[in-house]
């Protein structure tokens, strides 16, 4: 899918006269996908266990965790960016890692933004799995892990929705990645930390609205494409 999108952009100038270099666009798309897909993948691996624990066990502070998840879903991205910048900046606690103004810093802030969304929606999905299905898995000799896997499988559409929502939040947010990534492109037009949203912001600032619109169209197309791909993956067998 990734390759397809890039290929399409590469192929475009052959028959359309674009007001910019395609190399610039492809490297921006690549950075966008790299940052957001990695952020969402890590976030999903983190969110599912959290959703399972919060959904199916009792522990002190559970209501606090739930509250954090719920408020986190609407957390302003610029604030996340500021906090991540503070943590990663050379003068901050994680300064020695040298992550400020790198794609990895963008991954961290998108992870922070996507995780409450993915956890929250997954939580709703896994807790809606009926108890008797969990009981059945246990009674057939399933371990706790087996039961958890059954729950995830039963809730797969809800979880897919969660991942999509998280991806949408990650790839379309501009505030935090601008702050922690710095919107860097090298002089030859190769993006380092410039993704679609920060590029759109920059192009609009410079009054190049056509390029901005084109980037915006790519962004929307990417989100639609990922939606369709996920919908297709989970589409078969949905009979409920």
């Amino acid at each position: 899918m990734t390759g397809g999108a890039l290929l399409a952009v590469d192929a475009l100038p052959a028959f359309v006269d674009l007001p910019f270099e395609s190399h610039y666009i492809t490297s921006i798309v690549r950075v966008s996908l790299y940052v957001s897909l990695v952020a969402v993948a890590i976030s999903t691996l983190f969110s599912l266990p959290v959703a399972m624990v919060v959904g199916f066990s009792e522990f002190p502070g559970k209501s606090l965790v739930t509250a954090i998840i719920n408020t986190g879903m609407g957390f302003p991205s610029v604030v996340v960016g500021l906090v991540v910048l503070f943590m990663l900046s050379s003068s901050g606690p994680f300064g020695p890692l040298g992550l400020v103004f790198t794609p990895e810093a963008m991954i961290i802030s998108q992870f922070v933004l996507a995780t409450p969304v993915i956890t929250g929606v997954s939580l709703a999905a896994v807790t809606s799995v009926e108890r008797n299905v969990r009981d059945a898995a246990f009674a057939m000799g399933g371990t706790r892990l087996d039961v958890a896997l059954v729950v995830i499988k039963e809730a797969r559409f809800g979880i897919a929705t969660a991942v999509l929502a998280g991806f949408g939040r990650a790839i379309s947010e501009v505030g935090s990645v601008l702050i922690v990534g710095g919107n860097i492109a090298y002089a030859d037009g190769t993006s380092y930390t410039r993704n679609l949203t920060t590029a759109i912001q920059l192009e609009a600032r410079q009054g190049r609205f056509e390029t901005a619109m084109f980037l915006g169209a790519i962004l929307v197309a990417l989100v639609l494409l990922v939606n369709a791909a996920v919908g297709r993956l989970g589409g078969s067998g949905r009979t409920r």
Binding site: A137, F138, E154, G237
Partner: protein
């Protein structure tokens, strides 16, 4: 010889259900019906036998070993000697065959399971599903293997649930009101399957509020009234000549809780 399943002086409270000093045993190849009015905790008793939770007091032994006195790993092994069918079919959102295979699959090693999953993905199946197919044929569902379990009728679904528990050849089979929502035909099919389980030397515990079903399929009957077992004995004797006064009233339909 030790019993397949031995419950000794178990007391437990779960939600509304309370029982005290319950003792019973199940042998291989017999069907023990647990009857009683609804709400007396038959389901709770079966959940204890399936090791969902630990009883407040008393012991549960499988072939002479106290299930709560062993390590977690050993308990898992004992638990895996138990099959269970619930009042609701509780099937997974997957094809019928995958449901029937479930118990077999969780018993495989992780490398095998991963290999199996990959084989499924590329559409090549191996022979381990044969036992599951055979179990499905016991409940008369040959040819429905590929259908999604959620698209079955209630009766078919419950029969898949039975095949799912039978497929891994458990020593003990726990049936919690399995036919209470079913029509006569499906009830009859399931009762035949219970008979098949008995033929296979499985010890069956059948919780039911249907006394006629107990009369039809059970070798022995335990009557649960109030907070404990009022009477336990051979089915014929309990129904023909109950010792306990309350049992007599219950069997006669005079006792309404």
């Amino acid at each position: 010889m030790t019993a397949l399943l031995e419950v000794t002086d178990v007391s437990h409270t779960y939600d509304e259900a309370v029982f005290e000093g319950v003792s019973l045993s199940v042998e291989r190849g017999e069907v023990l019906a647990v009857i009683g009015p609804s709400g007396v905790g038959k389901s709770t008793l079966l959940r204890l036998l399936a090791l969902f939770e630990r009883p407040d007091r008393g012991s549960i032994e499988f072939e002479g070993t106290d299930v709560w006195a062993v390590s977690e790993g050993q308990r898992l092994e004992m638990r895996r000697n138990v099959g269970m069918v619930f009042q609701e079919a509780s099937l997974f959102d997957a094809p019928v065959l995958r449901n029937a295979e479930y118990g077999l699959r969780v018993r495989q090693s992780w490398p095998d399971r991963v290999r199996r999953g990959v084989a499924d993905l590329v559409g090549r199946r191996n022979g381990t599903s044969e036992t599951a197919r055979e179990a499905l044929s016991v409940v008369g569902l040959e040819g429905k293997e590929a259908q999604n379990a959620r698209s079955l009728s209630g009766g078919e679904a419950q029969r898949v649930a039975f095949a799912r528990a039978l497929a891994y050849d458990p020593g003990v089979l726990l049936l919690d009101e399995p036919t209470s929502d079913l029509d006569p035909r499906n009830t009859a099919l399931l009762e035949e399957a219970i008979d098949e389980a008995r033929q296979r030397e499985i010890g069956v515990v059948l919780a039911t509020h249907d006394m006629h079903q107990a009369e039809r399929v059970a070798d022995r009957v335990a009557v649960v009234l109030g907070t404990g077992i009022a009477e336990i004995g051979p089915a014929e004797r309990v129904f023909e000549a109950p010792n306990d006064d309350r049992t007599r009233k219950f069997v006669a339909g005079e006792l309404v809780y």
